[in-house]
Symmetry: C2
Subunit: 227 residues, 2 copies
C-alpha cells in the first residue's frame, strides 16, 4: 500500500502526504503553498523552470521546495493545479504520466475580462475541472480552492482566513481528503459541494466575487450556512 | 413622478411599493411572499387563476392578496418571478405589457435532475435572468433570491433566515432597491454580485447547494465574507 492508498481510506495520515502546486510561482499558487506549508504540510511548488520554483520556494520558507512542473507532479501525492487558464490544457497534457494515480485538485477559474469587468468562460468540456478529468483519465480529479483571495492568502500578518472551500469530485475518498486538506488552514473549512459536472458554476462564481470586491472594496469569500 | 420613480432614486420609500410574486402559489413564491409580507411589505401573489392565488393568499395572512398573473403584474411595482423554469419564457412573454416599467426580480434556477442529482441547465440567452431581460425590454430586470430554502422560508417557527441574497443587474437604482427589499427580511442581507451576464453561475449554484443539502442534511445558504 502506498502512502496515498492508505491515506484515502481513513484520510488520517494527511500529514505524511506531499502537496504539489503547479503554477506555484503565481499569486494563487504561492498563496496556497504558503498557507499549506505554514499549516504543517510538506509542499513542493512547480514552475516551468526549476530555478524559478526554487527561488519562489526559498522566499516562502516553511520548508517549501521547488521543482520544474514534472518534478513537482512526480514527487507529490496531491497536486493542486493553479496555472493560468490559457495554459491549463497544455500543462496537464504534458504531465499526464506524472499525474497518474495522484489526486489532482483543480482550482482554475476560466474568466474573461473587458471594460465591464470579469465574465465566465465556458470550456468545451464544461469546466476547467472537467477538462482536467478528460485529460487525466488515470488521476483522481477534484476541484477546490476557487474562491480564495490571493491577497489574503499571501498576507503574512493574517493568521486565519474566514472562508469555506467548496470541494467537488466524483470519488468520495478523494473529496474527503481534499476537504481535510482545506481544513488544515486556520479559518478554512472544506465543504463537499457536488460532482465535477457541477464545477462550472463554482469556477465561474469568481466573476461575481470580483464584482463584489469592486463594489465593496473587499476580499470576498464564501460561507455555507446551516452546515 | 410615480411611486416607483421616487423610490428608485433614494430607495427610501420601499415600504410604499407593492411587491408581486408570479408563481406565488409554488413553494418558493409562497415562502418569499410570506417573509416579505411579514416584514411589512404589501404583497400580491399571482397564479394562473385568481381563485387559486386568493386561496393561497388567505392561508399566508399578513395582508397578502391574490390575483391572476396579469393582475398581479399590473398592480405591483416590483415583480418577483418565481415560476418553474419550463414555464418561464411563456409566462413572461404573455406579461410583457403588464411588466413594462416595472422592476422584475428573477429568482428562477434552470435545473435538470437525474439519478446523480441536480445539474445546471444553460438557457440559450445565458441564464433565466438574461432570458427575462430579452423578453422584457421595457422592464428593469434584476436577479436575486436564488439560494433560499423554500422549507426555511415557509417555516413559521423561524423568525430569522441566516443568509445573504446575491443581487444582480445592470442598473444600479434597481439593484439597490432589490438589495433593500432583501434586507427587510430578518437575517437576510442583499449583496450586489454583478451584472446580468454573470447570472448563470448564480442560478446554477443551486445544484451545488442541493448536493450540500443531501450530504449534510442541511438547508444550506450563502454568506459573503469580508463584506
Amino acid at each position: 500500500m502506498t502512502s496515498l492508498e492508505s491515506a484515502t481510506q481513513p484520510a488520517a495520515d494527511l500529514d505524511s502526504l506531499v502537496v504539489g502546486v503547479l503554477g506555484g510561482t503565481g499569486d494563487q499558487g504561492r498563496g496556497l503553498a504558503y498557507r499549506l506549508a505554514k499549516a504543517g504540510q510538506q509542499v513542493i511548488i512547480g514552475s516551468r523552470t526549476a530555478e524559478r520554483a526554487e527561488a519562489a520556494a526559498a522566499e516562502l520558507g516553511y520548508g517549501v521546495r521547488g521543482a520544474d512542473n514534472a518534478g513537482c507532479a512526480r514527487r507529490s501525492d496531491i497536486v493542486i493545479v493553479a496555472v493560468p487558464w490559457d495554459g491549463h490544457a497544455q500543462t496537464l497534457t504534458a504531465l499526464r504520466a506524472e499525474l497518474a494515480g495522484k489526486i489532482v485538485v483543480d482550482c482554475v477559474n476560466p474568466l474573461g475580462f473587458d471594460k465591464q469587468g470579469a465574465y465566465a468562460l465556458k470550456p468545451a468540456e464544461g469546466s476547467a475541472a472537467e477538462q482536467a478529468a478528460a485529460l487525466l483519465p488515470e488521476s483522481r480529479v477534484t476541484a477546490a480552492f476557487h474562491h480564495l483571495s490571493a491577497v489574503l492568502l499571501q498576507d503574512r500578518e493574517l493568521d486565519s482566513i474566514d472562508t469555506d472551500v467548496l470541494v467537488l469530485g466524483d470519488q468520495r475518498a478523494a473529496t474527503d481528503l481534499v476537504q481535510a486538506l482545506a481544513g488544515k488552514i486556520p479559518g478554512m473549512r472544506g465543504v463537499y459541494a457536488g460532482r465535477l459536472r457541477n464545477a462550472h458554476q463554482v469556477e465561474a462564481l469568481v466573476a461575481n466575487l470580483i464584482s463584489v470586491n469592486r463594489r465593496y472594496k473587499a476580499h470576498a469569500g464564501l460561507r455555507i450556512t446551516d452546515v
